[in-house]
Amino acid sequence: MSRTVVIDPVTRLEGHARITLQLDADGHLVEARFHVVEYRGFEKFCEGRPFTEMAAITARICGICPVSHLLAAAKTGDKLLAVRIPPAAAKLRRLLNLAQISQSHALSFFHLSSPDFLLGWDSDPAKRNLFGLMATDPDLARAGIRLRQFGQQIIELLGGRKIHSTWAVPGGVRSPLAPAAKIWIQERLPEAKATVSLALGIYKRLLDGPLQREQRSFGNFPSLFMGLVGPEGHWEHLEGWDGGEARGPGGAGGSGAAGGHGGLRIRAADGSLVADGLREDDYASFLAEAVEPWSYLKFPYYRSLGYPEGIYRVGPLARLNVCDRIGSPWADAELVELRQRCGPVATSSFAYHHARLVEIVACLEGIELLLQDPELEDPHVRARASLNRREAVGVSEAPRGTLFHHYRVDDNGLITRVNLIIATGQNNLAMNRTVLQIAREFIPDPVPAGMEIPEPLLNRLEAGIRCFDPCLSCSTHAAGSMPLDLELLAADGTLLAQRRRGA
């Protein structure tokens, strides 16, 4: 008789989701689905607002990654004004984004995922969280918290608040860097570096030991990878195609990727370059979105390969897979080691955790380099203009992946249409495939009738999702179809197992 396994809600994620597994009458796993059950609706209620408000509004999509939306919205606004922002502004925005990425990755690693690695998959669920970590290894827990705090503090020093600051505006940023802020950051960089070094050490030991099976089986499948690259093909987190003078770390100009313009790059699992130098303005020509009736999250795919064959991944692992190198010494060394472990293109989703740590290194080195640039302190940080375009697409690399903001406005700058392609959304197909793979690996097949699935196995399913560090609040804005029935009906509708928060 068919059974349905339901995990609801999925824990230690940002946002609300649900996993269902459909077993057939013989206990074979037939289907697994990752449902996102939130609906935020920003794409609709922004209509009629002045485009200058979009930075403030979209920042409020999320409490973890508001800066990503802030920057994407500001960049879209730059294009609507048709301005090139002052170099100091571009560099300050880069500083903000580096801080953002490092704090978000720190949160993901230390708060959300490390309890599994360090306390074990089978440990007591009530303690398998940051508090449990604090009890077991207080120094590590404290270091992780302070690492996140470091990034948040930079955001506050630049923008006035840690969360939902509206410092980046169309045309640049609102205020220049205060000298005291620069000193504060420089003083705390060493501690931050020490923390991530410690984490990398611990993590690599675990990879060589207890986490080998997870590395092999958590979402390990071929797919395309997409991310921004710089003009020389190096790691890029903010500037899109032809990002201008303000690139770094690394050089500017040269005859690198796509004739020196940078832009979006797509690489296949076998290492070949599927596309390079793509402009974010043309996203609709190479990306499409499908909608399924059982989730509010859309399913983006690479257009020319169709749905669902056009599956692609974004985020830290994708950014490292598409780039040639990072461009700062320590980060490049770590990247080399990651490629030694995983191959030139890492296909296991579990490697996202490793990639996050490498990106934190890249961010810290990037921050250090930027602070040495005298142009960073220039007081001219905002270009002013009136509305000059009716439509624009802005791109940024959020911690979780590529983020697109696409606005259309009327003659007075009031939004008529908004499309947001969210990082997490682009990993939707991959998350679904990961859930299925984990279920096949860790749950006996066939599942005997009447057997209860133990909690640690369910935890692994969740952990598969956590590899992607999804931000589900961010990702659900279009008017998709209402999930009709999240309980996959078996012949008799039996539920094998359920987990609900608070009974």
Partner: protein
């Protein structure tokens, strides 16, 4: 000019004759909440927040439009007045779409200040969620009627200070809205001189400069008073009294 003495909350106050009860309260150091009143513009007594109780009168009086008289005994802080003020602020929030989080005036908004002053942290009245559209046609400024409380300071500022009378109120009752010209897009009203008096007079973020984003608007709300006084005295120095 004579002097009038009256009592406010038990304290004796002296004011010049012709002064309003609002001026008398301020002399006594009592900050009555106001929204439709702006120093430098004619008062209208519309927001009803500055009501005070006058001994012997049947109903509370609006202090901004009531003239002080000798021997009046006023109370500004009775439980009834406090309650009515609080309900008034709740009605303001319930009748518009006031989203402080993303508003340009967040942090320098008189409606916010009044809400804090009366201790309003929620509204007992259900929000009406009216449908109102932004007018962003003007090259320099925008009007967002979601934030408008119909104080008509913009109407009076444009009419009395600039003499252009771009703004007025259309329709009636809860359908009232501020309109430019003959209910045209602001940019099409030729009378507008882009002086910005209305933006500086607006207590909320309804009228704002296009340059401003969330939290940056800092209107010069004392502009009306400075202009009015300067015109009356024919003296434009505002650093102090003119030399003898």
């Amino acid at each position: 000019m004579g002097v009038i003495t009256l009592s406010v909350n038990g304290a004796a106050v002296a004011v010049p004759s012709g002064a309003t009860l609002l001026a008398a309260c301020r002399s006594a150091g009592i900050a009555l909440p106001t929204l439709c009143y702006l120093e430098g513009l004619s008062p209208v007594g519309a927001c009803r927040l500055c009501l005070v109780e006058l001994e012997g009168a049947g109903r509370p009086l609006a202090a901004c439009v009531s003239e002080a008289a000798e021997g009046m005994v006023l109370r500004t802080d009775t439980p009834q007045l406090v309650n009515f003020r609080r309900m008034g602020v709740e009605l303001f929030f319930a009748e518009g779409n006031h989203v402080c989080a993303i508003c340009v005036a967040n942090g320098c908004c008189e409606l916010q200040d009044v809400a804090v002053a009366v201790g309003m942290d929620h509204s007992r009245f259900p929000y009406r969620y009216p449908q109102r559209s932004v007018d962003a046609s003007h090259p320099l400024f925008s009007l967002d009627p979601n934030r408008c409380i119909l104080c008509t300071r913009c109407v009076r500022a444009c009419d009395e200070l600039e003499g252009a009378h771009v703004w007025d109120v259309a329709e009636r009752g809860s359908h009232c809205r501020i309109v430019a010209g003959l209910d045209q897009p602001w940019a099409e009203v030729e009378a507008c001189t882009s002086c910005g008096q209305c933006v500086d007079a607006c207590p909320t973020g309804a009228l704002f400069r296009k340059d401003d984003t969330n939290v940056t608007s800092h209107p010069q709300r004392q502009r009306a008073a400075l202009l009015q006084e300067a015109r009356q005295r024919h003296s434009w120095r505002n650093q102090g009294p003119p030399p003898p």
